[in-house]
């Protein structure tokens, strides 16, 4: 028998080097020959965006010899939420499931902790949005990995021509499509100025449209406005704080503002404000660039005048509603190491860049270091229309229900406490004291364990 051409010393050396490199490696990538991985992923509304995600998953699958299967699940009728709930109850289904906003908190007891992936990601990409951190952590552990796909903020999307014509304001000067800003102008963009312009636009027959129903667009923007006034429903220690001067100030403000909105805003769903802007009847909404994107297809003249920019500033700061999406790995998943590896791959900057480009700038990663993608600069018309979509100045991302503990905040959010309060005051003409009392009663109930 032929002897192997390797000495004992050489073998020892090689083994030691290999062992040392494995132990000291900052992140472990594995090979999963002939493994399988299934994903249930939110079905993107932008044509072609799913294809890019599929392409990236297949690239990773080919490289790692893993057969990746993706099911795109629509959020229409909450089908994605229902599917995740069914899988969680049945303890069977996909390996990876995408979860909108609060769903990581809802399912964290059946999700695999992903601290290792998040540590590796944060080490590479830097600080993450506090909203993503708040939503994806439970008991100090990460249970969700923020996705690029679907994650969004809801700043102002306004008509340049109508603001110029009826309010004498050039929004491109306030929020230009370049890093330099005139701080004086930015500071002057506050809720008082917003109210003044809302009145002017209403009188001109092209009012702004703030949804005040019970769906996420309404809840996100209204929650951000309450926060800008410093209003808190429940604090982090389970104290009910809704009965405050800040809440009353916010409600007083809404009383004035909602008078300059079309009366049908109380019935709008998430598409209501989009249609309002696209139809050309409205001067502004608070939304991700989906409204602009559809206008580009259906009413180019409106799209050419749309400008996405920061929210107004309130007494407690400038807040924008953020709605991150997450990937979660079920605790009953069949191939957890491969799932973690794929999610790390998808969250890296290069892959995030491709996903943002595929969504024409709609998807917003949770890492601030990713906000330099050129998609937001290049998208048109008009050039730079969504440059200010990622929060760039003093705008802070916010989620309605914060700072209550997440399982309570999820209920504040989903039961639309904020928008119902506004509707009771502004549509139902109920006294503010009575509405605050009502909210206190509801919040008290949400604290049950």
């Amino acid at each position: 028998m032929a002897r192997l051409g390797i000495s004992r010393r050489k073998l020892l050396q090689t083994t030691t080097v290999a062992a040392a490199s494995i132990i000291s490696a900052p992140y472990l990538r594995h090979s999963y020959a002939a493994g399988k991985l299934t994903l249930g992923v939110w079905d993107h509304w932008v044509p072609g965006a799913n294809d890019t995600l599929t392409k990236l998953c297949n690239e990773w699958g080919d490289k790692n010899k893993v057969e990746v299967t993706i099911d795109y699940i629509t959020s229409q009728g909450d089908k994605d939420v229902l599917t995740a709930s069914a899988e969680a109850q049945a303890r069977a289904g996909h390996d990876i499931m995408s979860h909108r906003a609060w769903q990581v908190q809802v399912h964290h007891s059946v999700l695999e902790p992903v601290d290792d992936v998040m540590k590796a990601l944060i080490a590479k990409a830097g600080p993450i949005s506090p909203v993503a951190e708040y939503l994806a952590q439970a008991d100090g552990k990460w249970y969700g990995i923020p996705t690029t796909v679907g994650s969004q903020v809801k700043p102002c999307c306004s008509r340049l021509d109508l603001y110029k014509q009826h309010c004498g304001i050039d929004l491109t000067k306030f929020f230009p499509n370049r890093p330099e800003r005139d701080q004086k102008l930015v500071d002057s963009w506050n809720w008082d100025l917003y109210l003044k312009t809302a009145e002017q636009l209403f009188k001109a027959g092209v009012p702004v449209g703030l949804p005040m129903g019970q769906t996420s667009d309404a809840i996100d923007s209204t929650g951000a406005m309450f926060r800008a006034f410093g209003s808190v429903m429940i604090d982090g220690e389970d104290n009910i704080k809704v009965d405050s001067n800040e809440t009353r100030a916010a409600l007083e403000y809404f009383k004035k503002l909602m008078a300059f909105n079309p009366p049908e805003v109380y019935a709008w769903d998430d598409a209501g404000n989009n249609r309002w802007l696209i139809s050309g009847r409205g001067a502004g909404i608070m939304n991700p660039p989906s409204a602009w994107s559809v206008a580009k297809r259906d009413n180019l003249k409106v799209a050419e005048q749309c400008w996405t920019h920061d929210m107004p500033r309130g007494p407690a700061g400038r807040f924008v509603g953020q709605l991150p999406f997450f990937y979660g790995i079920w605790s009953f998943a069949q191939n957890k190491p491969a799932a973690k590896d794929l999610l790390l791959f998808l969250s890296e900057k290069e892959q995030a860049r491709q996903l943002v480009a595929a969504s024409v700038g709609y998807d917003l990663p949770s890492f601030k270091s990713y906000y330099d993608f050129d998609t937001w600069e290049k998208v048109e018309p008009p050039l730079g229309t969504v440059y200010n979509y990622p929060p760039r100045g003093d705008e802070q991302p916010s989620i309605t229900g914060y700072p209550a503990r997440p399982d309570v905040a999820a209920q504040i959010y989903n039961q639309s406490i904020h928008t119902i309060m506004v509707a009771k005051v502004c549509q139902g003409n109920e006294p503010i004291d009575k509405v605050v009392k009502w909210a206190e009663g509801e919040l008290e109930g949400l604290l049950r364990t």
């Binding site: 909450d78 019935a267 709008w268 009847r281 209920q411 989903n414 549509q427 009502w438 049950r448 364990t449």
Partner: protein, 313 residues
């Protein structure tokens, strides 16, 4: 039926085959065959209705995190909530008014169709059944477009006629009216077809005798048609009450419970608490509140049906 065991010449009785023969006899019994043929259905009912029903009772007795048994705690909690009582009130308004109008429209339409010449009757029956055969989610979506808060087709017509717009879905009271209207539109054909079948089974001689006695149309309706239809009316109303109380699609698609929670019914509120807010036990408790209400009404209505059945016998 008497079963006769056949024997053939040369066939020897074999003790070992006795159990086989009795098994064969057992399998040949009508009741056994009936049971076996029903077995797939029984299995489906057990898996999809009985098991989920008991599971939801179990779920309703768990804590929010589903880690602790809380007995009737979730029900007690709900009884203290103003919003829950508002949902109870709305569900009752929704179900009772929708069933009343469905029954009324069904009865009137059934009479009209019954009096049509036999030749054209089939076409009318087919056309009037259309709302009932369209999948409810689709037709609700169609209605939502008609009531669209900003671009309502109805409002477009009203504006064209010089009227002012109606806030179909943005005003809570109009929104309640709209969801009830859609439910009536969807459910009336069911009443129509049931009442039509009942009308056709009323013996013609009774009407002839009444006509000879000088009874007018109203008297014939009150003294012949209605008494002959009482059982079918009771059963139809019961069935519809159950289905309407449990309605989900129409409210979820058209208003999702808004504005200001003022159109929520049990099912949509259970969905909001259980699925969207992640409190499955509380959601299960809300949906189970329908059970005693429907059980009590079922007992009363079926008791009436049985009593009338005995009287007629």
């Amino acid at each position: 039926m008497v079963e006769v065991a056949q024997s053939y010449p040369g066939q020897l009785a074999q003790p070992a085959s006795r159990p086989q023969a009795s098994l064969r006899r057992f399998m040949r019994r009508r009741s056994t065959i009936a049971f076996l043929m029903c077995l797939p259905l029984i299995a489906i009912v057990a898996c999809l209705i009985v098991y989920p029903a008991f599971y939801s009772i179990y779920l309703a007795m768990l804590s929010k995190a589903q880690t602790k048994f809380v007995g009737l705690g979730n029900f007690a909690y709900l009884l203290k909530r103003d919003t829950f009582w508002m949902v109870v009130e709305q569900s009752a308004i929704f179900a009772l008014s929708a069933v009343f109008f469905k029954a009324l429209i069904g009865l009137i339409t059934a009479h009209l169709v019954n009096n049509l010449p036999a030749k054209g009757q089939r076409k009318w029956r087919g056309m009037l059944l259309v709302p009932w055969v369209i999948p409810l989610a689709l037709s609700s979506l169609g209605w939502w477009w008609l009531f669209d808060p900003t671009h309502s087709a109805f409002n477009w017509i009203i504006r064209g006629l010089g009227g002012s717009e109606i806030p179909w879905l943005s005003d809570p009271y109009w929104a309640r009216f709209s969801v009830i209207l859609v439910n009536v539109w969807y459910g009336a054909p069911f009443f129509l077809i049931m009442y039509l079948a009942a009308l056709k089974s009323v013996p013609e001689q009774l009407y002839e005798a009444a006509a000879i006695d000088g009874a007018n149309a109203w008297q014939r309706f009150v003294h012949i048609t209605l008494p002959m239809m009482r059982n079918i009316i009771a059963i139809t109303v019961l069935f519809s009450l159950i289905v309407t109380f449990a309605n989900f699609d129409i409210v979820q698609i058209m208003t999702a419970g808004g504005p200001r929670n003022m159109t929520h019914v049990f099912a949509t509120y259970a969905f909001l608490l259980g699925i969207r807010s992640g409190d499955l036990p509380l959601g299960a408790a809300v949906s189970l509140f329908m059970f005693p209400i429907l059980a009590v009404s079922a007992v009363f209505i079926l008791r009436g049906v049985r009593k009338r059945g005995r009287d007629m016998a």
